[in-house]
Amino acid sequence: MSMIGLYQPGSSVLHRLPAGVKLLGLLLAVVGIVLLTAPWQLGVAALALAAGFALARIPARVIGRQLWPMRWFVLAIGIFQVIFAGPERAVMVCGTLLLTVAVAALVTLTTRVTAMLDVCQRLLGPLRRVGVDPDRAGLVLALTIRCVPLMAEIIGAVSQARKARGASFSMRALVVPAVVRALRRADAIGDALTARGVDD
């Protein structure tokens, strides 16, 4: 399921910070993490991040759920780095990946999606002069977030159907129906948006 949009209600200092401040903080944190040069610096950053999660009163299992989907990816990257660049480099690359995802998760878990979209819309406001509609852009972002679990459901259902019909290894049996269903879903969502007055 989607990591995006899994807001954890709360009243901590982090929850109450304005979304714009947190998004700016996220940007600065990611840049800072990427610029780290030694494993001990990653360790300090990890401790600071852990303090952030503790301040926000986010349970460890929730943090784990954010990072768990990355395990195979990080493992593959780590093995590659160990072979071609050495263990220290592997620690730096994998640690940087995990920390940047974790800091993004901290922001996501403590910030309502609508608050983040409001910030995006305000930032896009000056672009009205060149024809950009910030409200529409915000809706597109919200729909993108919303559609991640919907696509996951479609692919899951098609995978099961493919398996039930003995075609577990057929990419065509996965991709074609998944695309067709996704397009039908998109049409239906379009109708619903019209009914909810989005274009009015």
Binding site: M1, G5, Y7, R112, E153, A188, D191, A195, D200
Partner: protein
């Protein structure tokens, strides 16, 4: 109650005639529309709030043409779809209900207040910050209904809102629909939901073949199925 009027309404998809000349005036509080798959029920329903325009004839709601005055019509007519996943656009429950009020002119505190009241009315207050994709089917349909009703429409058109639900959730949604003070046009295959309705219209191959009380119209429909 609003007056929903179909005058000489026809609709085609290419060469396929979906509605072949429908004349109806709906003023009752509870109207059911039934028919076999492909009979034109959903097409007829979607014309009421201007989602589909007739290829001939006209549809009006209190005198407002649904094609030329779609915006005004959609302010008065809320639409509940069969699959609530198509209707829910925001990641959390409260955010999705609030989305309906984004152009209402209300302040943020007023919107928050209206959202809280609406969620309480539908038993969703405890789920306000929950991700919408983690709700049960029945809860999603309640959310879809809440997001429609929060805007205060005069008419609710519900297109088979219980089809994808299990019996328990279907009863919950249907009981809620039945208790609404708003005018309701319900398209359904579940005939027991039409008990107590004021009027039932039966469609068959794009034509109205029966129109009356449930006791009058439903036997005609079940007769067509034999």
């Amino acid at each position: 109650m609003a007056e929903i009027s179909f005058r000489g309404v026809q609709h085609r998809y290419g060469d396929r005639v979906v509605l072949g000349g429908v004349d109806l005036v709906l003023t009752e509080q509870r109207v059911g529309i039934v028919g076999a798959n492909g009979s034109g029920k959903s097409t007829l329903a979607r014309m009421i709030n201007g989602l589909i325009s007739p290829t001939a004839g006209s549809v009006t709601v209190d005198g407002l043409d649904t094609t030329s005055k779609g915006r005004e019509v959609r302010r008065r007519v809320g639409f509940v779809f069969t699959d609530p996943d198509n209707q829910i656009v925001m990641p959390t429950v409260a955010e999705d209900v609030a989305f309906s009020l984004r152009r209402s002119g209300l302040s943020k505190p007023e919107i928050a207040d209206r959202v809280t009241q609406t969620l309480s009315r539908f038993g969703l207050a405890g789920h306000a910050d929950h991700p919408t994709h983690l709700l049960s089917g029945g809860q999603k349909q309640l959310l879809a209904l809440a997001a429609v009703l929060v805007t205060g429409p005069d008419v609710i058109v519900a297109d088979e809102p219980t089809t994808l639900l299990d019996l328990r959730n279907a009863r919950m949604v249907s009981n809620l629909l039945g208790s609404l003070p708003e005018q309701l046009v319900l398209i359904t295959h579940h005939l027991h939901l039409l008990d107590g309705f004021d009027r039932v219209v039966v469609l068959d191959r794009g034509q109205v073949v029966a129109d009356g009380t449930p006791a009058q119209a439903l036997p005609v429909y079940t007769g067509l199925l034999e």
